[in-house]
């Protein structure tokens, strides 16, 4: 077997047994968030990397997942770990709806509509006070487990989510569906004229893409035992996803995962390493600077840059712009 297949399996095994050795809640918490971001990034990349549709609205679905799961447990007593898969499906259905609206408008409009979607759903969560508790938020019942194991269901839950996300992404990339998505990214009209039902492809891709965010949101809500409109719709979450995909390499299977495993721990530790009074501002500026530098000097991300250095052919080559002046973008 090649390193590429062995390594992930070894890592998975390691993560499975890790909680036996590592008992500090903090480290498990850090990993759990890393899994969560990795899973969401893998999801984001299905739309953003493969199909080339940049979504700034993933946190909207994350929040939607949080709220739906929260409401289900508060009003109907359905535990989050049971409802999470269905919440994911629901997020996918809402995603399909949003996709239907915004995918009619190509490219830029999509970016903007997804961004505003976040505002809209946040507003709804805020204003449906009778159901959602408005700005007071929703209080989820706490899991009744001993203090040192209560984190484990979340740890393993996020790990499972990540594994599923990777498998789905892998399946898509190997299929005609994935090829069609790339075709959409490259030349949408032509793709349609080649028998690729672009609307269906995009809507399906977007639905799959956001469903991971929905599940992550559901687990996250229970993890904090609390959902409120600020917490559930923090824009920085979407930004994190995009940075992770970009750092790792967009449009690749492992890029988003690699990105998440680099960016999440580093950015968390940055907060611990800088004096607390300015940590937040430093964090924000550092995030911005990293983003700008990555885009300027390594826009293809680690994986693509690395493979093309090693002389990979065709697909792995850096994207176009060979001439001095680009032609007009249509």
């Amino acid at each position: 077997m090649k390193l590429r297949t062995v390594f992930p399996i070894v890592m998975l095994g390691l993560f499975l047994v890790l909680p036996i050795v590592v008992r500090e809640g903090f480290y498990l918490d850090l990993l759990l968030f890393t899994f969560m971001y990795a899973a969401m990034s893998v999801g984001w990349d299905i739309m953003g990397g493969l199909a080339g549709y940049v979504s700034l609205g993933h946190v909207g679905f994350f929040g939607l997942g949080s709220y739906v799961a929260g409401l289900l447990v508060v009003h109907f007593g359905i535990p989050v770990f049971l409802s999470a898969p269905f919440v994911g499906i629901l997020a996918g259905i809402v995603g399909a709806g949003l996709g239907w609206i915004s995918l009619r408008a190509r490219g830029t409009s999509f970016v903007i509509v997804t961004l505003t979607f976040t505002y809209v759903i946040q507003l709804v969560a805020l204003n449906l006070r009778d159901i959602t508790g408005g700005s007071s938020g929703l209080y989820l019942p706490l899991l009744t487990l001993p203090a040192d194991v209560v984190i484990l269901p979340f740890y393993y839950g996020m790990l499972v989510l990540l594994v599923v996300a990777i498998l789905v992404s892998l399946a898509i990339r190997r299929s005609k569906f994935g090829l069609g998505l790339v075709a959409i990214r490259e030349e949408e009209g032509k793709a349609d004229g080649s028998g690729v039902n672009t609307s269906l492809y995009k809507i399906l891709a977007f639905a799959i893409s956001v469903s991971f965010a929905g599940v992550a949101g559901a687990l996250h809500a229970q993890y904090l035992n609390y959902v409120d409109p600020d917490l559930a719709f923090e824009l920085i979450i979407t930004l994190n996803l995009i940075i992770m995909c970009l750092v790792g390499s967009r449009g690749t299977l492992w890029g988003p995962v690699l990105g998440a495993f680099l960016v999440q721990p580093l950015s968390q530790y940055l907060i611990y390493l800088t004096p607390s009074g300015i940590a937040g501002q430093v964090h924000l500026v550092a995030l911005g600077v990293v983003l700008v530098l990555v885009v300027m000097f390594m826009p293809d991300g680690i994986i693509t840059t690395w493979t093309s250095r090693r002389g990979g052919r065709g697909r792995a080559r850096p994207v176009d712009a060979p001439e001095r002046l680009p032609e007009a973008a249509t």
Binding site: D29, G137, L224, Y226, I278
Partner: protein, 419 residues
């Protein structure tokens, strides 16, 4: 950090001793001798400091009040350390900036408890951060003494380890104002009220409480609307409030919206008889700077005023001003932070231990004298005191009610002067 405080160390110890003595003496330990700086170290290891963990909103949208609370913590720590420490050990604050983000705050509490293994915990600013973090504290059975999470939700989950250090919860903040209005002679009593309010859990609790009471007394609600925390344009709101003809405005505000409401009312010449804001006017310095003479007549409710005659307040004010010489008006949140320290100190001394379960049990059974007054807690950590009614008069913040309160230093002006 080593700057000498003008007040002698002995007086700090004395005030601590006084506060402990003043608290209900349910626990025999409360009269213990350890309060004196010379006392031997009560629990080993004595050469190691006691570490208090905090995840605070030092940056991000809650950074201003977050920082103010943090200043309160610092003033308290310095006082205690100058007086020889707590149980003979120095205090150290282990503090992380949570950027006003709840996930980060939760991770940080996890880190403080499991990696840094701090001895004690303080709470962050605002209910939204207190709610998720208090659950972590509860999980690890750590006493979670907090000065700024008073929304009903904080107490909904019946936590044993959470304690809110303000005189009362949000529902009761406007009680003195309501009482004042209802006590007015019938011919002066307003007939209608408007409730423009921000969507915020703390505000909502206050406004709902006040509205219910006023309606019950026959004061008609002619305007009630909720705007998002992000609202920055108040022109139309002001127009609508004015059109409603409300005689009294109960603005459910935080800070900026209080300022913006005043400006918007003034710019369309709307002159209600009384204006009460839930928060905002209490941040005296900034509020005065933003509105100048337009502050006069505005009322608000608060747990603390700089001029308070509560035991220990004079010292707190002096120490604070010495430590932060750039500030003239002390934000109320700093007093809340300071009170948190006072409460913890009382409990540690009361139990003579750093055992968090004992501390929590002690707090449920006792009350503590703080700069915000004497505060005790029910089974879920709700305090049992009451707020003050304040009004700006001649550019100064005065306490105008309740009449029984020793802090009262002026009579209310009604109707308020024009903007």
């Amino acid at each position: 950090a080593g700057a000498a405080t003008p007040s002698p160390a002995a007086s700090a110890a004395a005030s601590v001793a006084a506060s402990v003595a003043a608290s209900a003496a349910a626990s025999a330990a409360s009269s213990g001798p350890s309060a004196s700086p010379s006392a031997a170290c009560a629990i080993p290891p004595c050469d190691q400091p006691i570490v208090i963990g905090v995840s605070q909103a030092l940056t991000g949208d809650k950074s201003d009040p977050g920082t103010a609370i943090e200043h309160g913590y610092q003033v308290w720590i310095k006082e205690v350390n100058d007086a020889g420490g707590l149980l003979g050990r120095k205090l150290v604050l282990k503090e992380y900036d949570n950027q006003s983000l709840a996930d980060t705050a939760v991770s940080q509490i996890e880190r403080l408890v499991t990696v840094d293994k701090v001895d004690l915990l303080f709470g962050p600013f605002s209910s939204a951060l207190t709610i998720p973090t208090s659950a972590v504290a509860e999980k690890y059975k750590m006493a979670f003494i907090e000065g700024a999470g008073g929304a009903p939700g904080v107490f909904q989950r019946n936590f044993h380890y959470t304690f809110f250090v303000q005189p009362a919860t949000a529902e009761h903040q406007a009680d003195p104002f309501v009482a004042y209005l209802l006590a007015l002679p019938a011919d002066q009593r307003p007939a209608s009220a408007a409730y423009p309010q921000q969507d915020d859990p703390f505000v909502k609790a206050t406004e709902d409480g006040a509205q219910k009471a006023l309606e019950a007394a026959g004061i008609k609600t002619v305007y009630h609307d909720v705007y998002p925390p992000t609202q920055t344009d108040f022109a139309s709101i002001a127009a609508a409030v004015k059109a409603s003809g409300a005689e009294v405005v109960l603005g459910g505000t935080i800070f900026n919206d209080a300022v913006a409401q005043v400006q918007a009312y003034a710019s369309i010449n709307y002159q209600p008889k009384a204006v009460y804001f839930t928060s905002g006017p209490g941040t005296v310095g900034a509020y005065k700077q933003a509105l100048g003479s337009k502050v006069n007549g505005t009322m608000t409710g608060d747990g603390w005023v700089q001029t308070s005659i509560e035991p220990g307040n004079a010292k707190f004010v002096a120490d604070y001003l010495a430590m932060f010489p750039a500030e003239k008006d002390i934000p109320g949140e700093a007093a809340e932070g300071y009170s948190v320290g006072q409460v913890l100190q009382a409990a540690v001394l009361g139990t003579q231990s750093l055992d968090n379960t004992k501390i929590a049990d002690w707090l449920h059974a006792n009350s503590v004298q703080t700069v915000q007054g004497n505060i005790g807690w029910d089974a879920v950590g709700r305090p049992n005191g009451s707020y003050l009614l304040e009004q700006y008069q001649g550019g100064q913040m005065k306490v105008v009610a309740p009449s029984a309160d020793p802090n009262k230093n002026a009579d209310p002006v009604y109707p308020k002067p024009k903007w």
